[in-house]
């Protein structure tokens, strides 16, 4: 389609009125708007209507932002990136540790070997050990395992024990610490309910609380830790089928 000189001149004039001076850019934008007219005509719009609506568009388009637009886009991307890093760090830091209790003598003892949820429910969502931050290239140590389960699922003692501590922290939410013997203790975190009191005696398999997402948790799961003396150990290596 060949356009009449009048249309081409008018487009240039409107662009110049919008402070577009660079010859190459004028030429390129003129081609842009002539292409737009051609597209509209090909889509059965009346030629004169297409020309007029394109003129109107140019007259009302804000070209002053044309060379600052990119900065706005950048700011938007920076915002998204910042939010993503913040959110992922929050998830990553979900399991900061409680102070580890001082243990005295270490004698050979039975370790708690049960599965901490009733009827073997739940699935493992995060393993013990190093966890990579999804965006920042950093590692941290995950002090237990995360077992994903429905809110309210019964949490059970993994071995005979005395309730050493029941409490709440910002990171762990509601938690229970069981002391099984002089050597082993276990921790159950992010609970939605606690059904035992400090110094209670509990047998293996007894319900002590319920799965929840209290503290820094995005969805219901049990964070389960086993402490051997002063060191956390991998709970999966302790569980006997």
């Amino acid at each position: 389609m060949i356009h009449d000189q009048q249309t081409i001149d008018r487009i240039r004039e409107l662009l110049e009125l919008s402070q577009i001076r660079d010859k190459d850019i004028l030429e390129e934008m003129t081609d842009h708007y002539l292409s737009e007219i051609e597209r509209q005509v090909a889509a059965q719009t009346n030629h004169q209507v297409a020309i007029r609506s394109t003129f109107q568009h140019i007259a009302s388009f804000d070209y002053s932002t044309m060379y600052t637009q990119q900065d706005k886009n950048n700011r938007f991307v920076i915002l998204i990136l910042a939010l993503a890093i913040l959110f992922s760090t929050y998830i990553w830091r979900q399991h900061s540790t409680l102070p580890i209790q001082n243990q005295t003598e270490k004698i050979e003892h039975e370790w708690p070997d049960g599965w901490p949820l009733i009827e073997s429910s739940g699935t493992i969502a995060a393993q013990f050990g190093n966890m990579n931050h999804p965006i920042l290239n950093r590692e941290r140590h995950h002090k237990g395992i995360d077992i994903k389960a429905q809110k309210g699922t019964a949490v059970i003692a993994t071995g005979d024990a005395v309730v050493q501590e029941v409490g709440y922290t910002e990171a762990y939410g509601y938690y229970i610490i069981l002391q099984h013997n002089d050597r082993y203790t276990t921790r159950y975190c992010h609970l939605s309910a606690v059904e035992v009191l400090q110094d209670d005696q509990v047998n293996k398999g007894v319900t002590i609380g319920a799965v929840g997402s209290s503290g820094r948790a995005t969805s219901p799961h049990l964070h389960y830790e086993i402490i051997d003396g002063e060191a956390v150990i991998d709970p999966l290596e302790c569980i006997r089928a």
């Binding site: 081409i8 390129e28 388009f61 044309m66 993503a84």
Partner: protein, 110 residues
């Protein structure tokens, strides 16, 4: 630092580069229309965004331009600079990885 800044600059750049890599030689209006069609009009690249991006990419040497006479007027075409092809690929990969991470985070259940 430099690569970080490039990354932030990257979203629109990367979309443009990906389109050029897939389609070869394109002109500005064509890129706007193709984006509109491909995204069901969800992403509208205006002339105010597309031309500054094209000009910057050209200045950086990522793309090259050539002029042709079409319907009696001059049309400026852009294409990926062959010597930057590897960098273009890595930028596209970086953005798709970032998008995948975002998707993981948004569906995340820890």
């Amino acid at each position: 630092m430099d690569s970080n800044k490039k990354f932030l600059n990257g979203t629109l750049n990367t979309i443009v580069l990906a389109l050029l890599r897939e389609n070869g030689k394109m002109y500005g209006y064509e890129i706007c229309q193709l984006t509109k069609d491909k995204t069901n009009e969800k992403i509208l690249l205006t002339e105010g965004a597309i031309y500054p991006t094209l000009h910057r990419l050209e200045k950086e040497g990522m793309i090259t331009s050539s002029k042709e006479k079409v319907n009696g007027r001059i049309r400026k075409y852009y294409a990926i600079n062959k010597s930057s092809l590897q960098e273009v690929d890595s930028q596209i990969n970086l953005l798709s990885q970032f998008t995948a991470h975002l998707r993981t985070l948004l569906n995340l259940s820890a």
